[in-house]
């Protein structure tokens, strides 16, 4: 039986995808901020990849300085509201909160963060102004967390910044990839508008940079180029039957869901292939879209999955069933998907090995492949002197973001191989400083 009725309207969609971290009202914010101990050299700050001064902003909320709190957050992380809602806080700040050691519920840092930032966004509180123009120009490819964060920081430093984005909206996977129960599209876009209004960078949408000629134009016109391109489409499985109708990539499926909401078609019986966070999301989402059954199939054991434990718990909580130690060998069907042929696996000398003769077919009418995102190696090969590592990640300095082509900088998923919004936001802010270091010494 389906855990959720299939949503047929925007309202029903939002009911099924209710926000995991709903907005705090001011009483909640007062109570929760009152609990913070204001630790010295707080572990929560250390656990935040963007190093937000958490006790400081919580104290600001507690003393009625919500705008000051928003400033503290944004000065460290331009995706302040998005991060408050989509960060895996359980393994970051909230996981490090000292209350955990006392078996007391940790401070709800993420929700407090969003409390302050959303208020600033809605009240259009001005926090930043662009720096004095320094006459230099930087092009940014990709308007994801990395690209936008880099743009904000560069504008603050006085650069003219033009962003080129392949898609129609800013924020990258924040609006196209993150699960809808973590953040709404409106909220993401409101924060992007809030930033752009203050910093005044330009963004050209539906403008993929895809050829050597495109790049050459940028190289001629700009002093430096920042690659905030993230990762690519879902990796192919290279299995027979993969081309059948209703066998889709997770990233593509989720993008549909984020854009079309209840109008997204979901099967009655869905099999999700993979064991990472994206697989958990796709499974949860299928279930919330009203699928009768959702099976999460993974090659190894439950404990070997790459996904965070709380993400698996979330999926289980909406009725997703795990099917472990199985490898898909064929997508079966007749035009449309009718099932997945699996073979059972066992660990043999540390290697996952198929168990001969154990094949079986699990019927379904939709397959979602959550088997990782491809790297943009083809595009990257167009940039002279740019090195990528064995895993397809751009080789660059971790802090300055400078690549092996000194005029190109990068951060976010394209460099780290796929992490979180907060990593992209923090690294890109640092990379902007790297660009500044590089350009300010050149005449």
């Amino acid at each position: 039986m389906a855990e959720y009725p299939t949503p047929t309207s925007e309202q029903e969609f939002h009911a099924n995808f209710a926000q995991l971290k709903p907005r705090m009202n001011s009483s909640e914010a007062l109570f929760e901020s009152s609990r913070c101990l204001f630790c010295f050299d707080a572990p929560c700050i250390q656990a935040c990849p963007s190093g937000i001064d958490i006790p400081q902003f919580i104290r600001q909320i507690n003393s009625g300085n919500d705008t000051g709190a928003a400033r503290t957050i944004y000065e460290a992380n331009y995706f302040g509201n998005a991060c408050g809602k989509v960060c895996p806080t359980e393994v970051l700040c909230e996981g490090a909160c000292v209350y955990n050691l006392q078996d007391v519920k940790p401070i709800e840092i993420g929700r407090l963060q969003s409390f302050a930032t959303r208020k600033a966004i809605e009240e259009e509180k001005p926090l930043f102004t662009p720096g004095i123009p320094n006459g230099r120009k930087v092009a940014i490819i990709g308007a994801g967390p990395a690209g936008i964060s880099c743009a904000c920081e560069l504008r603050a430093l006085g650069y003219e910044v033009d962003v080129f984005e392949a898609k129609a909206q800013p924020s990258g996977l924040t609006v196209y990839g993150v699960a809808p129960y973590k953040i709404t599209n409106e909220e993401v876009i409101a924060e992007m508008n809030y930033l752009q209004q203050q910093f005044g960078y330009s963004v050209t949408y539906n403008a993929p940079i895809s050829s050597r000629a495109d790049l050459q134009k940028l190289e001629e016109k700009y002093d430096a180029i920042f690659l905030g391109i993230g990762l690519g489409r879902t990796n192919a499985l290279r299995l027979p039957g993969e081309e059948r109708e209703n066998c889709v990539g997770a990233v593509e499926f989720i993008e549909q869901l984020r854009m079309n909401h209840h109008a997204t078609a979901v099967g009655r019986k869905v099999i999700v292939l993979g064991g990472g966070n994206t697989a958990m999301d796709a499974a949860s989402e299928s279930s919330r879209m009203g699928a009768d059954s959702v099976i999460l199939a993974y090659r190894r054991g439950k404990e070997d999955m790459g996904a965070y434990e709380f993400e698996y718990d979330l999926a289980k909580g909406v009725g997703v069933k795990g099917l472990f130690h199985v490898a898909p060998i064929e997508i079966v069907g007749n035009g449309k998907v009718e099932g997945v042929k699996f073979i059972r696996t066992a660990l043999h000398e540390g290697q996952v090995q198929p168990v001969p003769g154990s094949e079986f077919i699990e019927p379904c009418d939709m397959v979602i492949k959550a088997t990782g995102q491809a790297k943009q190696t083809q595009f990257l090969s167009l940039i002279p002197g740019l090195e990528v590592d064995g895993k397809g990640r751009i080789v660059a300095d971790e802090r300055t973001g400078q690549t092996t082509n000194p005029r190109y900088f990068t951060s976010g998923d394209a460099r780290n191989g796929g992490a979180e919004v907060v990593n992209a936001a923090a690294e890109a802010k640092a990379a902007a400083r790297g660009i500044h270091e590089y350009l300010k010494t050149r005449s």
């Binding site: 109570f31 010295f40 963007s50 000065e75 460290a76 000292v98 590089y438 010494t441």
Partner: protein, 459 residues
Amino acid sequence: MPDLSINFAGIKSPNPFWLASAPPTNSGYQVMKAFDAGWGGAVWKTLGVPVVNVSSRYGSVNYRDKRMMGFNNIELISDRPLADNLREIEEVKKRFPNHAVIASLMVQSRQEWHDIVRQSQEAGADGIELNFGCPHGMCERGMGSAVGQEPDVLQTIVEWVMEVAKIPVIVKLTPNISDITEPAMAARRGGADAISLINTIQSIVGVDLDLFAPYPIVDGKGSNGGYCGPAVKPIALNMLKNCAQHPDVRLPISGIGGIETWRDAVEHILLGASSVQVCTAAMHYGFGIIREMTSGLEQYMTDKGFNTIYDFVGKALPNVLPWEDLNMKYKVTANIHEEKCIGCQLCYTACEDGAHQAIKLNAGTRVPEIIEANCVGCNLCSLVCPVEDCITMDRQDDGTAHLTWKERTEANDIPTEFNDEKAGGRHHWVPEPAAALGKEKHKTLPGKARQFEKITVTE
């Protein structure tokens, strides 16, 4: 079962918990409800000269998410007709003959005092409380704290009252005075049977940041009010102790000020109160709090083996000494119980910035370490630590030596000049001033910038 009943200067009550003269005792309806709930007595909202009140009337001091840590009011005495109040007192006494009903009074002339004391007695009141405490509105008219601050005037009025009083008379004292024992002794000289303290403390609880006016706000303006609630308990306890210890006061004392739980009540009793009065807590939580108060008091008495309240009235008084009589040879130092520590490092920063730099941090752990040689045993770290019993203050001396400042003074062994070798902090280690530089500055930077080092790029 311990016996909670009291006989306070001749006023009998089933337990020591009385409602103080205030809004909760404004009417017969409220007093009957309170007695039904379990309160032992009630001091009626002050009766006297006719008054007119303003709106709004109350202000609050909140601490973080905790409401009404302190409370203040600019309200006056009862604005209800005297006849109504007297009739209701009579009705309450008929239904609750064993509960204590005390009439609080405030008038001006000798004749008015005589009249109102007689009327209260006729209504059946068990006692009278003279309100010499109200610090606003009434003092301008020569009453309330204007009387409480003038021991001679106070004594005269008590004498007028005693001329006609046939029931016990309690004098309620104002804390808005430098030595509370002065009016207390005046009350005794005037012939009063008991005293009660404290009334509210003159205060401004806060200022509205947008209207630029003090709370509570009356049409854009405000006035100083009377402060009470949990925040005033320490002031009340000290004044209570002063009266209870004074050899010339020797009157039963009704303790008032910041009482909200049985613990607060026991503290008042240990410092000499033999009845206690409650206002703010009842205004905050209603009459139901009495159930916790009586049950807590009963349990405490059972645990301690006390049969009656009088077994522990003033029991802590012998242990309250002048500072000069404290043992300077007693020495405690802080001790962190590692297994309980949650690593918040509040103790570290408190001692580092607010005490004696006697706590250090070590690499690889968030559990701080006490530098015993630097610890002066001030308690600060143990007070800020959020975990119960995580930092204990452990005794270091062997308990054999005893030396007080007084003894040292008498033995001519005290530091007397600047830079005296005998001064306490003379050989206490303090860091070099410049060692502070760079310890805080980086924290003023946002986010990861705190951790930025020099950036290097390829040219």
